[in-house]
Amino acid sequence: MAESAAPVKVAECGCITALGDAGATHAALLRGECALRPVPVLGRDGGQAVPLALLPGRSLDEAAPPDWLEAVRRLHAAIPGADWGSPGRPVFVTGSNFGVGGLYALRRTGDPAFAVWGAPAACTERLRALLGWGPDVSVISHACVSAHLGLLLATRAVAAGLAEDALVFSFDFLSPFVAGGFHALKILNSGFPSPYRLGNSGAIGLGDGAAFAVLSRERGAWTLAGQSVYNEMHQFTANRGDGSGFDRCLEGVAAAARGRRIWFKGHGTGTLDAGQLEVSAAGRAFPGAPVVGWKGSLGHTLGSCGLVELAIAIESVRAGRTPGTIGGTGPTMGASVATESFENGAYDGAVCASNAFGGAHAAFLLCHA
């Protein structure tokens, strides 16, 4: 089941990554730049150096107030319109981290200043006050598909006539908490990610990221068709080995994409099994579609990745060129994996997909309105 083609448009979309705003990030990806750098996994507490892509000048160690607030303010200043969070203009805040880095600092130092941003609702409430939003602010947290769910709920609110416009705002900033967690799972290690490359061992990188999208019934050059979600509920950190979870999610998007020539922006973190399953499923759902993944440069921006990568996908279509998959060398998991950038003028849609803990899948078709 996918959402029917609701008359909802993307009026505005933007992001920030370690490489800059959407335009700068897209340009850097076209140049094949990698934002990931080796950083001790626990920041000042040391540990193995792992690939992280932090915003320029930002430390992995949490500050009080958080040092990512300035980046959030800067991104927010680029959002057109006012009265967000008022009746008819709801905000959907998404992410998987919120201020959880403060909890690590709180436990290490005992300084109560770190507690202030620690819980998702409290963090969002402070952000709401800081950014001048009204009280209609929903908070969505479903690990790395969080941003997709924000887009889905915002689309439904606008399509149902409950909102004129809706703002989806997502942010995830790294901390020893999240880096330490993924390191404990052993998928964040000293290796740099090589999404969709064959190899003996997989590795991911993590990245700072924040993004927004304004959805509107009336305005906008883009639509998100066939929004689809699916939850395997097979294991916390692995997918069903037959790839059926990917298929079930993508079948709804494939129906929306029928008759279109599309390219596929995958999740592509750099893990081997999920990468292979995703490339195979994309080939079944969208035969001939080139597959790209950008987390080998940006790192995995976690709950915000769906929105960060939507902004880059839109920038790619605007610019007429899609960055290829970055990271690693050697043979790919399939001939469909594009390792070089390509002209996208002949395509009339891009499928953007993300995955998360619990075998959660989410995807949509980005196309011109």
Partner: protein, 217 residues
């Protein structure tokens, strides 16, 4: 106006019950051995949700403000050698995933939310906008320890799960309706739970411009 019929409801209001007592009380509700790694919130929410027999075509809307406080505390305490199990268990949607993964029960739509003063409205809006024929609106909190001392966890443990359907079937317990109205109001998760637990009628503002009616049969 958004409206659904309340077809089934399960609430769990354990008061000061300890996590060990909750585990003992609920262990028979899960397959043998399954509760060993389940959190208190996972046990309570999982049990409430299981009562409704979640199916693959149901949508699950999960509301919790603080989520897995005890797992989060344990994960933070495990540094500098962080626990992978506590990391994956501490994520926001974990309680529902503990049940559904244990049952190997896929579900199309799963919407985990957090929230504050107007959490009831945001969760209900998400539930009532879902196109699924049946929406299972569940949620709860577990009492924290050192995070609670710093205002970062719930002081109370509770859980609920409600089945909401478009059609009014025999045995319906009541209905919930969101409609436009002037003014502003609030209804947090704990108050929403008390309302469900007491089968208490409600008619009032729950957000700017939004009125909630809960009618029991």
């Amino acid at each position: 106006m958004l409206e659904r019929h309340l077809q089934a409801l399960h609430t769990d209001n354990p008061g000061d019950e300890t996590p060990a007592a909750a585990r003992e009380r609920l262990k028979g509700r899960f397959p043998p051995g399954a509760t060993r790694r389940m959190t208190t919130l996972g046990l309570l929410v999982g049990n409430a949700l299981a009562e409704l027999g979640p199916g693959p075509d149901d949508a699950i809307v999960y509301a919790t403000g603080y989520a897995e406080s005890r797992a989060l505390e344990g994960f933070l305490d495990s540094f500098p050698t962080p626990s992978p199990t506590l990391f994956q268990t501490s994520i926001h949607p974990s309680a529902v995933q503990q049940l559904m993964i244990g049952r190997q029960a896929p579900v199309r739509e799963f919407l985990p939310l957090s929230g504050g003063a107007r959490f009831a409205f945001h969760a209900l809006r998400a539930a009532l906008l879902s196109p699924a024929p049946r929406v299972l609106l569940c949620g709860g909190e577990e009492r924290g320890t050192w995070l609670l001392e710093r205002g970062l966890a719930s002081a109370r443990t509770f859980a609920f799960a409600a089945a909401l359907s478009r059609e009014c079937a025999p045995g319906s317990l009541g209905r919930v309706r969101l409609s436009r109205a002037g003014g502003d109001g609030e209804l947090g998760l704990e108050s929403w739970f008390d309302l469900l637990d007491g089968r208490t009628p409600f008619d009032g503002l729950v957000a700017p411009g939004w009125r909630l009616e809960v009618v029991w049969r």
